[in-house]
Symmetry: D2
């Protein structure tokens, strides 16, 4: 396992940490505790949790015999003991935690205290990285890398949770107005601008849906890195759930190069797609009735709510923020189906579709362990492995995903009724 | 009906408006949207709603034929039309509104915008008052007075809602620390200090429970002012539900001069009061089981959570923050009962108990209209009259009640399972 | 306290017991476990519970020092010990019980076993009554009388619960068809026939609403018998909640001699009564929205569902099966109000309205204890006294009430949203 | 496609129809409407629904141009039109239906009417089969076969639903006592006896868990019959979800010949299996907490509730009535995993494990369509295909499964939290 050179890791660490803080630059203080629903978390909580992760798994004194290399020498003083409770997400091995639906109640600690803590964590991390590099501690560096990848995931979550929260405000606020956009040094680009550029780059309005035939046969998918282990080298990082690489038999299939567009999805709606039970899974049909779904999550008439506020919907843009149930029903209506994740990975590896940076793409595959899967050792083993029921895999990445965080073997996952993330849809079919 | 002299009303108006704003001085910005439960509202919402009330019922242009005196001449420009929706509480006649459990989602408008609006409303109100005084418009001035009384009610609500919200934070924050208290010119006194002073003034630790015998017979209770009308003179202001004054027959009864203390209530708990169904109303017993009640709302071991944070509980202090069900069960355990509101009013009118400034006192009386009751005309008729089911009356006032807001005939009311307000308990019995 | 002569009590006892059993004569076996909602109970459960009451409070060996007169000499063998659990309704002092919403799951014991038990209980009761008479045990006889009154209440409950259950069956079955009605010796008359006869007897279609003026002043209401005691003499029986007799001051008032009719209520509906929030209590308006109420419970177009199945609704018949909220809203719409229970009792005592046998009549009075009220001693003290919150009093009796069970001072009570009982509405107003 | 000879089909049809009716022979009439939970259905409903299926899809006059062969000549008169609503299970294409949680309210039609209808349907079916045979109508005969398979499925459902319902009765009734068992001609054997015999036949107490190594490689699973079609030949019947036969790549694996026993599962419990979150999927852990699970569904101390009532639990018997979550947690605790359905099918095809007649066996495979799957045409296409989310596949058959209904490729499916069916557990592992 090759170590990352400190010269590369340290600036990257600081860049990632700073980017998280830059995300709240345009918000009002009240926005920091906004929690629109139980599934979402407030921005301040994301900022705290991503520090908690480093403190808990890297900076905390582990006691006799379990000390991290140089643990005490760092001189890092953990935060108020109760913060462990506040900012633990779901790690049972770490202990009890603030109930998820009540994260919005945490108006204290105030943001200034959280930001000061973040600074202390970042400083301690930098010192720790140098020690780990010096000691050639690959496992320790792998945990640092995991924490950085974790923080990048939360950058995306922060934005999609914010969109959900703002969508519930009758004033329809823009978290990130398009106008006057002039990103500073480390400031992230406007997400809405990223969305527009990414699908334009993918061919945009001029591209027509085109079917690509793929041969099938015995293929290999998954990350070639070790299963259940953590890898310190950035180029080869992967989550435990992406491994092991393994064989899958595929029948010949077809897949579309483009994502389904707003205009195409509007045709489904116009054809009474949301009123025809035969197009839906039974569980999905019940959800449609209960929640009164009639369109994707953020459609409002001919407009669409976004992080840039309410904007006219562009027909050629890929349809976004829809549930697996809607994606599946649309595919059935279109006489097609969703690709399996193996089909997706084979096509993406071959460069056939535009895979990254626009929208996560629902697959037909339930989220389950790969053959031979073993979760990472220790508490971080709870990271992925315990969520492998009642969810579907999404592949690719989206306009909210931080740069450098996308990967061919990446397995994102959500329940089939969720639709607040930046999800889209690509059709497949039997050849 | 005597008009209030402008010389008295204008400073009072400004004092009341400023006091609302002073209440949030010690809060963090994130606290402003804190909503601990559906029954409570965020502080910022209270600040907005109390301005909405004036705008809606006094400052808004009423259109041809319905114009308020001088309406347009005020030059008042109403807030963003959508704010009507955001800050309407429950007035059906005004239109739809933000669902109460979702007031905490209103991170926008930011506090600066709300405060700027408040200033504009206050300014316009001052101009309006002068016009109304000049025109001798008693009805208009009565509406102003109603708005001020309304704002005072919300000052109390803001504080009890804040206490509820903070009580759900594991950090147990103090909204208003006792230490270093040095109230400024218009700054309200610390609520916890007010509590300590008020019951000390009422006799405090040295007072023993003393029973006072009252003769009964045909008595009169209720406010002598007109039923259903609004009265512009401050000394005679009353809500519509306090009138008309009417006859009630009372048997001879006894009533305690003191409120029940923490020590007395602790004896009830020690005697398994929360485990003995025979002491409870059936509906209350079900609540005790469902919510796992074992003590008053803010008791924590020998400590008590308050707006000054977690503090040792003083045995001689009156027990507070309990539901009608708990008050009723305690009284039954003590071989006594709660006073009816007529009994309370007769005893208070005679100066027998310490009635005001410590805690609201539960009565045995369901909240129903007095004989001959008529709600105020117009939309403000929704103020009180539509809540006359499934609630009990509380009398007196409490340490959170703004100065000058207490009154012999005041009828406060809450559902029997509510206990986040500053409620206490006084015993009564048959003579 | 005068004892009932055995010559009168024994045949009455047997008649009441047999009448319960006659009520299920026309049912299918499957109907016996029908429980339409949590508030209602299956017919078989009613038959079991009314025997349980006698076994628990009169026939069970009470152990040393607490033996009932002649308890063991009766030779009565209690039922399977688990039946205590199955058929206890809400007596905490007796012990735990089958959760109310799950009574419909009790397909066992089969009806034959329950009926056999009933027979054993009736036989033992007859022997007990003779012993109690011989011993002059007034308290014991009072408990027998309480058990008989209790059983009569459950006869009414059985029928209204059956109506609720059948109303949920798309086949709209008639529990008790009108056709071919030829009641036998002890067989009860068809409830629907009783309804038709009772309101016809009260003046029927020819009677016009007529207002009666009543003077008011200091009046007495309530039962003159002792408070909290049980009375063995049938003529003077009363539940504890009807006592003590006490003074009430009444302003002059008006009351209608007739109940509100279907035609009158239809006018309220035609005038958008269910769409106008200003007519409703806030709590009631929320219920109207949540449950989608648009008419009384059993109205179906121009028809009405009843124990005789679906039948055309008669405009002149009194409107029935409505909640307190609907009664209150109708009264407000009509420019009137509901009578207090004191007003009702004064008017009924003077023979002014037709009080009994048609429909229970909602009053404006919350169900609370009379001044000086004390519940009956022992476990039967739970009979009435613990339900004195969040309910309203109904007065009179209805077409489902067994003959001889009505009484001037009777206080029936239900929550304001309930409407499956035979409730109606009489208007009152200020004089 | 070979037709079944009438000589074989007709007696089989009558035998299956009679067996359904024999299942309720030992029940009390009240039991027929017992519905213990929303997921279960009353016995009478099962009897009605299995007739509805034939009436709806085979006997109903389809109107001009859509007539079934000989439809009108059968002289079959459909049941009361409202029964279509009562007995439709979930076929959206057929129309609305009685809500599933309210099937227990259908005390009418009485059982006699349902049984009379069953007789008419059976008679008409027999006539129809002869016509279809004569006409060589393979599609029609395939629908008859589907209806018979459907009825067999409901025979199993009826018994497991009954067990659920009886388990909620404190009297712990035995639906089918073991004692005095002497099954008649067509009478089904006692289910509890079948359970005891089946696992004894599989080796019983003397068998030790033995691991069998399987080579893996490219295998074929699924039914070789046409996908999406119905097949009239009994030997080759399969549901649409079992096809098409397709290739799967398998790594080498191990599988146990025996099911996990009560004693083995007790060791998991003794090792705090239900208290250790690291053994559970996150979703399952939440269910464990919410429902307070501490043992399999019908364990009661050292006893077990069954269709033969409460009986001592036999340590060597296979553990039953557990959820996927419990099976998965047990396997993790045991250092193993569940087999995929492909692994199961390969091992069962080779005769390695005891596959049938004891308990359904949870697999690690979410229930999803096979590659190339197409649902059956028409309304019966809703039979299986619309349930392919959030469920796991079980393989084999159980002691409640009617004889002749088991099959190598059979895919049963339930949500991972369900445990009222006769489910068990077989371990697998990587080779």
């Amino acid at each position: 396992m090759a170590l990352q050179p400190a010269a590369a890791l340290l600036p990257r660490l600081r860049r990632i940490r700073e980017r998280s803080e830059a995300l709240i630059a345009g918000l009002e203080p009240e926005d920091l505790c906004l929690q629109g629903m139980a599934d979402a978390s407030p921005a301040k909580w994301h900022l705290g949790h991503t520090s908690w992760f480093f403190e808990e798994f890297l900076l905390r004194d582990r006691g006799p015999g379990r000390e991290r290399s140089g643990g005490t020498r760092l001189g890092y003083e953990p935060a108020d003991a109760r913060w462990r409770y506040l900012f633990n997400s779901y790690y049972e091995a770490v202990g009890p935690r603030q109930p998820r639906p009540q994260r919005g109640l945490l108006t204290r600690p105030p943001i200034a205290d959280v930001l000061a803590w973040r600074q202390r964590v970042t400083d301690a991390l930098e010192a720790l990285v140098e020690q780990l590099q010096a000691a050639g501690d690959a496992a320790g560096l792998a945990l640092v890398e995991l924490g950085l990848q974790h923080e990048q995931q939360h950058q995306e979550l922060l934005l999609m949770d914010l969109l959900d929260g703002f969508s519930r405000n009758p004033l329809e606020p823009a978290a990130w107005p398009l106008e006057g956009e002039e990103p500073g040094h480390h400031a992230p680009i406007s997400p809405e601008l990223a969305y527009m550029r990414s699908w334009a780059a993918a061919g945009g309005a001029t591209a027509r849906p085109s079917w690509i035939q793929v041969a099938g046969g015995l293929v290999e998918i998954g990350h070639p890195g070790g299963s259940g282990g953590l890898d310190a080298s950035p180029g080869s990082f992967h989550f435990d759930n992406e491994a092991p690489r393994h064989c899958v038999w595929l029948e010949p299939f077809a897949i579309q190069a483009q994502l389904v567009s707003n205009a195409e999805f509007a045709a489904f709606i116009a054809d009474d797609g949301y009123q025809r039970p035969e197009l839906w899974m039974s569980e999905g049909w019940a959800v449609v009735q209960q929640r009164g779904w009639r369109a994707p999550r953020y459609w409002r008439g001919d407009w669409e709510f976004s992080l840039a506020g309410l904007r006219p919907r562009q027909p050629e843009a890929p349809v976004r923020h829809l549930s697996w149930f809607e994606a599946d029903a649309y595919a059935r209506w279109a006489g097609a189906r969703l690709p399996s994740e193996a089909e997706w990975e084979v096509a993406a590896a071959a460069g056939l579709p535009q895979a990254y940076g626009v929208l996560w793409q629902w697959t037909a595959s339930p989220y389950r362990p790969y053959p031979g899967f073993a979760p990472a050792a220790g508490a971080v083993g709870e990271y992925n492995g315990k969520f492998m029921t009642s969810q579907f895999v999404l592949r690719g990445s989206c306009f909210l995903t931080p740069e450098g965080h996308a990967r061919l073997t990446y397995r994102n996952f959500y329940p089939p009724a969720s639709r607040w993330m930046a999800s889209g849809l690509r059709l497949a079919g039997d050849a």
